[in-house]
């Protein structure tokens, strides 16, 4: 027997049972409906057990569900922020490669892969390299990292002795410099320089191409 035939059988038997009952009077129906309206309604059994109930969602929601919702909202908040402001990406997902700019080199693949509006370009992993053999520390400061030396320290490559760092950078023109040993303002010898009309201290120029 197919599902349709089984359902048809149930309906047929139901109709036969209903036909066997005496006809309901309109008066009886009215009294039953009026009595039902006056009876206080209990929440469904699921709600009494602590399950989701749409009339009182917060009161009925179990703590685990609420925590999960808060977690999802939090993640969503971060995702929304990164979608709204793509200027400060935080992750690197591509290996560096040689770039045409001379100093900093752009990698071949964009960092982000999510769908973006047409005029929003994905950050490109970009490598910065400085030869500073006597330096104890080298940090990168630029308009792509809020000029924050603490956010972008370079690491010394043990084999070459070069200081290097790869960062995701939004395509466009950027100005940057290195801070050697925390105080020494050092331009990238491989990159073009720019006079600084605002503050008088020149910077290195980086043109990051969109991929």
């Amino acid at each position: 027997m197919t599902d349709h035939e089984e359902v048809d059988g149930v309906i047929r038997r139901t109709i036969e049972e209903l036909r066997a009952l005496p006809a309901a009077s309109d008066d009886a129906v009215s009294r039953i409906v009026a009595a039902a309206r006056l009876t206080p309604q209990d929440p469904p059994r699921d709600a009494q057990r602590g399950g989701w109930y749409w009339v009182h969602p917060w009161r009925r929601m179990p703590a685990v569900t609420a925590a999960a919702l808060v977690l999802v909202a939090g993640i969503g908040g971060y995702a929304l922020r990164s979608r709204m402001d793509g200027s400060r990406p935080a992750a690197v997902a591509a290996a560096p490669a040689t770039g045409a700019n001379g100093g900093a080199a752009a990698a071949m693949a964009p960092v982000a892969s999510e769908d973006l509006p047409a005029n929003v370009e994905r950050p490109v992993a970009t490598q910065f390299v400085l030869a500073a053999p006597t330096a104890q520390s080298v940090a990168l400061v630029g308009d792509f990292n809020g000029w924050d030396p603490r956010s972008a320290p370079l690491a010394r490559d043990p084999q070459t002795g070069l200081w290097t760092l790869t960062l995701p950078v939004i395509p466009g023109r950027h100005v940057y410099a290195f801070l050697v040993d925390g105080t020494e303002w050092t331009l990238d010898p491989r990159a073009p320089q720019e006079r600084d009309a605002d503050f008088g201290r020149p910077g290195s120029v980086l043109l990051v191409e969109a991929r």
């Binding site: 939090g74 922020r81 809020g146 000029w147 939004i170 303002w185 043109l207 191409e209």
Partner: protein
């Protein structure tokens, strides 16, 4: 769990991450600037927020001044000027709604003397593509000594012809190298533009409009 507590927790979860950078940036500004400069920069940021401008470039400019050891008066002047340029850039680049990167690039170009109308022309020429790189290339060409007018004309022509971000950046780099070898900036741009245009899909209708940097020798 009461509904009020749950709603407050949910609201915090949504709002706190979205504004997570603001306290950090504010703390950095407070730490990097003296009280008077901090107050002045904060006023500019509030004004920018009221005008729905992105504030990150303004924060960056103030922090740039601080890390460069600039005097407070120069930091204040720089952030005010940048905010004003960002307003102009945003208007020139709309519609469609420009990104933070585009507004920043437009503001930098304006700072180099590129007229507002050129930003609009580049936006229209670029269609729905980002114009952050074309504007950056334009700024870079002007910074290397190419006149604003010539650099604007050439970049607009290249964007209209469909030059990609990579092609524009490569052209900018070659022009810089040419200039460093002693070639006149306008001539360098002209040569490199004429070398690139024939390779572009939309170049045939634009090539005749380009004029050489200097009269040709017969």
């Amino acid at each position: 769990m009461t509904r009020v507590a749950a709603a407050a927790l949910l609201l915090c979860a949504i709002v706190a991450p979205a504004g997570a950078q603001s306290p950090s940036a504010d703390q950095r500004l407070a730490k990097a600037l003296d009280a008077e400069t901090y107050a002045a920069v904060t006023r500019v940021i509030r004004s920018a927020k009221a005008r729905a401008l992105p504030v990150d470039p303004i924060v960056d400019k103030a922090l740039e001044g601080a890390v460069k050891g600039a005097r407070p008066v120069r930091i204040r002047a720089a952030v005010v000027a940048l905010a004003d340029r960002m307003v102009v850039a945003r208007e020139a680049l709309s519609p469609p709604s420009p990104t933070v990167a585009e507004i920043g690039a437009g503001a930098e170009a304006l700072g180099k003397g590129v007229p507002r109308a050129t930003l609009r022309t580049i936006r229209i020429a670029g269609g729905d593509r980002s114009v952050a790189v074309p504007l950056g290339v334009l700024t870079e060409l002007v910074a290397r000594g190419v006149s604003v007018q010539r650099a604007s004309d050439q970049v607009v022509a290249l964007v209209k012809s469909g030059a990609t971000s990579q092609q524009l950046a490569a052209l900018s780099d070659k022009v810089r190298q040419d200039i460093e070898t002693g070639i006149d900036p306008a001539a360098a741009l002209d040569i490199r533009t004429r070398g690139l245009l024939p390779l572009l899909p939309g170049s045939s209708r634009l090539a005749p409009t380009l004029k050489p940097a200097s009269p040709r020798v017969p």
